[in-house]
């Protein structure tokens, strides 16, 4: 407390204050950014991250409202609480950005990613790959006598786990979409 009897760090309208703003601990946040679907808008967002030295762990973008020409960009980023707040404020002042939501602090959210895995193998390894795919509810979307392509949807952690299991079984190529996310409820 200061001599003025005002609690330091008070500002009443932000979930920011539930966390320690001076923390040095890096957090992972998922941001949903609604933007005008116009030329260069993705370059603006990416340029902001590279220009100001922020991290992008994952980024997805697609038009979500054809009539309104709106796209949704989902960004997974890491940073201290102060950096995360700065990222949101910087995103918010890009002119074609309509809205920035921090799904990590605004309540529960679902996050999903889709990945494709090409696994080459024969004999026991091939059988084991198929068995594990079944456990993970991955679909085989292509098969030859010596390979499978599995399709898997889930959290990034689930996709990481599946990739780890497939690696000794002949994983030779992998493609991931990056995270798409929505808040739960309405």
């Amino acid at each position: 407390m200061s001599p003025l009897q005002i609690q330091k760090g008070t500002s009443r309208h932000s979930a920011y204050d539930l966390r320690d703003p001076h923390s040095d601990v890096e957090e992972v946040h998922t941001l949903a950014v609604l933007v005008d679907n116009e030329a260069g808008v993705l370059a603006r967002v990416i340029g902001l991250f590279s220009g100001r030295g922020y991290n992008i762990e994952s980024l997805t973008v697609a038009e979500v409202d054809h009539e309104g020409h709106l796209s949704r960009i989902t960004i997974v980023t890491t940073g201290t609480p102060a950096v995360i707040e700065q990222i949101k404020a910087q995103l918010g002042r890009i002119v074609p950005v309509h809205d920035v939501h921090d799904l990590t602090v605004e309540g529960p959210a679902v996050e999903r990613e889709l990945a494709l895995f090409k696994v080459k193998g024969s004999g026991d390894k091939r059988v084991e790959a198929l068995r594990l795919a079944d456990i993970f509810r991955a679909n085989a979307v292509d098969s030859t006598l010596e390979s499978f392509v599995f399709e898997l949807t889930g959290t990034s952690a689930k996709i990481d786990a599946f990739a780890e299991l497939m690696r000794p079984l002949g994983l030779i190529e992998m493609a991931r979409t990056g995270v798409a996310a929505l808040s739960r409820g309405v």
Binding site: P3, L4, I6, S11, A39, G40, G47, A89, G92, V95
Partner: protein, 584 residues
Amino acid sequence: MTQAMTGAKMVVQALKDQGVEVVFGYPGGAVLPIYDEIFQQNDIRHILVRHEQGAVHAAEGYARSTGKPGVVLVTSGPGATNAVTGITDALLDSIPLVVLTGQVPTFMIGTDGFQEADTVGITRPCTKHNWLVKETDKLAATLHEAFHVATSGRPGPVLIDIPKDVQFASGTYTPPNGAGRSHYQPKVKGDIDTITQLVEAMEKAERPVFYTGGGVINSGPAASQLLRELVEATGFPITSTLMGLGAYPASGDKWLGMLGMHGLYEANLAMHGCDLMINIGARFDDRITGRIADFSPNSIKAHIDIDPSSINKVIHVDMPIIGDVGHVLEDMLRIWKSRGRKTNKPGLKKWWGQIDAWRQVDCLSFDPSPKTIKPQHALQRLEALTKDHDRYITTEVGQHQMWAAQFLGFEDPNRWMTSGGLGTMGYGFPASIGVQLAHPESLVINVAGEASWLMNMQEMGTTVQYRLPVKQFILNNERLGMVRQWQELLHGERYSHSWSEALPDFVKLAEAFGAKGIYCDNPDDLDDAILEMINHDGPVIFDCLVEKHENCFPMIPSGEPHNKMLLGDASTSDVIGSSGAVLV
């Protein structure tokens, strides 16, 4: 009224409808259709500069001194890339500009055509927003939106890239009000709860200080008026950044002078020792804060800013208020008055006693010399002989800029144009041209160093062509003075490339352009020479030979806090530690 016209005609029509009077530009292949339209009308005046960077700085000077957006018209490729420095300068100092660039025709984009550059790509990080217009039907709405974006919220430069075929093609013109409401509508009203909280703190504060910045000036003359009312009513001391000079009059008795790296002792110590800091439209720039960890350690901080990204970017504040300075000041005053106009009078009395003691240090004192002109003395004389004029000052960047900020007094906003954020050498001369165009009857002086001035000296042609009586007051120390000062403090007095060799004879240079040159190297002749400059009806280059190795004090060495100021040459050895040495 919507009507069909060519893209080139639309550009001129939109500028007229937006109230534009002056365009600064330079023609080229990709903007010929627009220049053809300019040729066929008389409403908009086009000023032909000598380099596109000059056009942008001139537009900045025009904008900063009028509060209206500056407009620039340049061609594709090199025209656009030459404008980049000026655009970046305007971004960092929040100056509203609309920059129009020509582009190769749409069907040639991406072919590495003649004078093709990816202008929107190059300028994306240095504009507030930019557009490449590929259809003539969208041109009018984009032009109007550009003016809206440049001037709303935190002002800044915007750019519209217009391919040549879009300029030739016909489309439908929509006037400004017919374009529909933009979704870009920054919040201007501050949160009343937080403003009330700030007023409560102001009532109790023992050692308050107003720390104001360029945001007050950008908010308009009404904001400066409200600030003056608030300062007078509360009796709180006030300091300002380089960008905010003039919002509160330098002659006011609450004025502490500029703060920051070369700010006044009393201003910086007030910032360091205050218990309530009220930041109004400033952004805790590193020239202001010094070492972050020791910045004003015992204060509660309020921050009023229209840009949410300025809040908590550098310094964590206790009372963030997002809104336009004018609106927030109005609410602050209203709430403070309605609660009974309370302040902590005993606390304030003690605080002013402390401040007066700091003022006794007389931090701007210097050793006068009977033989050579001290730069500080030159500025004191310039101030004495011009302060009663209707005067506008621009500067270049370096020691002379800091001395000008210290020794010249500004009584009104929009009278002081300087490159603060980007620190662009070469800014002041073209800026003075823009100011003079906006205020043809006023005395416009560019306080310059010889090195900065040479960076855009080609604009002498512009001043002579348009008979702009701008005064170029060059403090010539034949050195890159600020670089030299840092080399003295930081690099063992090894003056690597920080002197100006092969300087021109500035008097002959002026005459070569058809202007007047004045040379002065004797303190006894200085007043007469300055009067001769003021009284000459036309552009003047004033070559004022000053002390070569004068250092600019006070100075907060980089990496040090406010209370570690240097006041004079005695204390300058080893003042910057290794951690400070990496800072600029």
